[in-house]
Amino acid sequence: MTISADFDQGAFVRALLDPELPPPNELETPGGFRPERRFAVYRNNVCVGLVDALAERFPICLQLVGDEFFRAMAQCYVRERLPRTPMLFEYGDAFATFVSNFKPARELPYLPDVARLEYAVGAAYHAADAAPLPLELIRALPLDRLESATAVLHPSTQVVASAYPIVSIWRRHMSDEKMKPLELDRGEEALVVRPELAISVSPLPSGGSDFVDALRSGGTFGEAVNAATAVAMDFKLTDCLRELLLTGVFVAVSVAH
């Protein structure tokens, strides 16, 4: 039995990703003709396939910059960072950071945060299932002891805080409604959660994302209030709780005895 050397997958990949390079030497066509256009099928599959995956993953970013700009930008991202697992729904985890460093997109300063929000939406889509605590049960909790209570949040829960009104931007692109021009001079903190199968994206009052982060890392409600008021003096606890209750963020609340 002849043992041939391993074929050079590394060289194949380099040629795949760099159109300046010729196709690998060991490839041939039946007529002995140049293999460039045939090899381009593989180049195209890799590049266009991944750009398409990003376009599906970041549809609002695509709307914000237009198809031509988005695809060219996405292609830069693909060449810089290929997926690290075969699960394409995880692809794009560094896209927001990439966009924030991408000079041609600088004139849309809110774009990275919209990308962050869209990635959170995609992650919520695939997150584990859990049943939200019904309001009747929450009402029956010993409310006077909640200060030292902790909570289990729905696995899909995510928050994205931005200096721009990202929830408003997201919503106006998800709906066809005509709306009045959007002022960019205020920030929004987005709450993303998928208690059943539909994904909810809603704004939290200022400090709300710190409140949620504190609860998620195991902090008590008292500690979460402190975390929120540390960044937002006028943190509106009631409004924040109303939003969290309405969207089904709480899966369990444990009250210490």
Binding site: L27, G31, P86, A127
Partner: protein, 308 residues
């Protein structure tokens, strides 16, 4: 070679319990149509990697689908044809998925898609020689061990060939089957596309294919292009109805194989549910004619026996 080849009595095990009917690739957008229809589809096939998240809509759709119809899971990310060791984490995820849904069949590709930590999202080609054979055999063994079942291995679509190939594709596939006791998924469109691109006869390929090991067939549309010198360059794009030439080749394969589970693959420019269903109905007609031909020949044999 004796050490690797499976004992003869083990060769009876089937890798697939899919019915000999036409199935379709399941697309999320079709779910409401499927729920509302009489669901007259032989089976559904999904891409494993789309169902490796923990929950949400993908699983909420797949659970009722699996309850009511046979399911085939088709992997696109194991990189069986690569020289590198398999991604154990990915194999673990696959094992979890297969255990969760206990599909009628699991299939993967004779191709590679991962290099180092980079996933290239395409089914890339390999030369067919002793070295690559050893890698493929080791990988198929490892997957079958992990999943506790034989898998189906699919023939790829080729655009180029390697100077370092020592086996034909069919010789290579035969060797993999002999050494791993896996089974085969014959993609008739890939055979047609490869034949056109590499200048061999698709009919001869089908006639030489180890048909007794085929437990599923794939059919799809391809895209038509030409290369620099005007030679045909067909691309396996899964973007169109199955063309007539592929139906003819399919019938040729069925004549040798007999009726077998057949999937309509349509992944790009996804059609409406009725359009997809019409393709499955067409495949079902081929299967029906072949089934009747088998029955007729059995009847005439029985008649012969009676007369004899």
């Amino acid at each position: 070679m004796g050490a690797r080849s499976a004992p003869e009595h083990c060769r009876e095990r089937a890798a697939s319990s899919l019915p000999a009917r036409a199935g379709v690739g399941f697309k999320s957008v079709h779910f409401p149509d499927i729920e509302a229809s009489a669901r007259d589809v032989g089976f559904f096939e999904i891409h494993a990697e789309n169902y490796m998240g923990a929950g949400g809509t993908p699983h909420a759709q797949l659970m009722p689908l699996r309850r009511d119809s046979p399911l085939s899971i088709h992997g696109v990310g194991l990189s069986i044809g690569g020289a590198e060791p398999l991604d154990r984490a990915h194999l673990g995820r696959l094992k979890t998925l297969v255990e969760r849904y206990d599909p009628a069949a699991f299939s993967e590709h004779l191709a590679w898609s991962t290099q180092g930590t980079r996933f290239l999202n395409d089914l890339l080609p390999l030369p067919y020689n002793a070295t690559t054979l050893a890698h493929v055999v080791a990988h198929v063994d490892e997957i079958q061990e992990a999943l506790g079942r034989p898998i189906l291995l699919e023939n790829p679509a080729a655009y180029l060939r390697f100077q370092s190939s020592e086996y034909s594709e069919i010789e290579f596939l035969r060797e993999v089957v002999r050494r791993t006791d896996c089974r085969l998924l014959l993609d008739v469109t890939n055979a047609y596309v490869s034949a056109a691109n590499l200048g061999f006869s698709a009919d001869e390929y089908i006639d030489a294919f180890p048909m007794s090991y085929v437990e599923e067939i794939h059919l799809a549309g391809y895209a038509d292009d030409v290369d620099e010198v005007g030679a045909p360059l067909l691309i396996d794009a899964h973007c169109a109805p199955v063309p007539d030439a592929v139906w003819r080749l399919y019938d040729r394969a069925l004549a040798r194989r007999g009726p077998v589970a057949t999937l309509i693959e349509w992944d790009n420019n996804i059609p409406s549910w009725p359009t997809l269903l019409a393709q499955a109905t067409q495949a079902e007609a081929f299967l029906g004619r072949r089934r009747r031909a088998v029955e007729d020949s059995l009847r005439s044999e029985a008649l012969h026996d009676d007369l004899g």
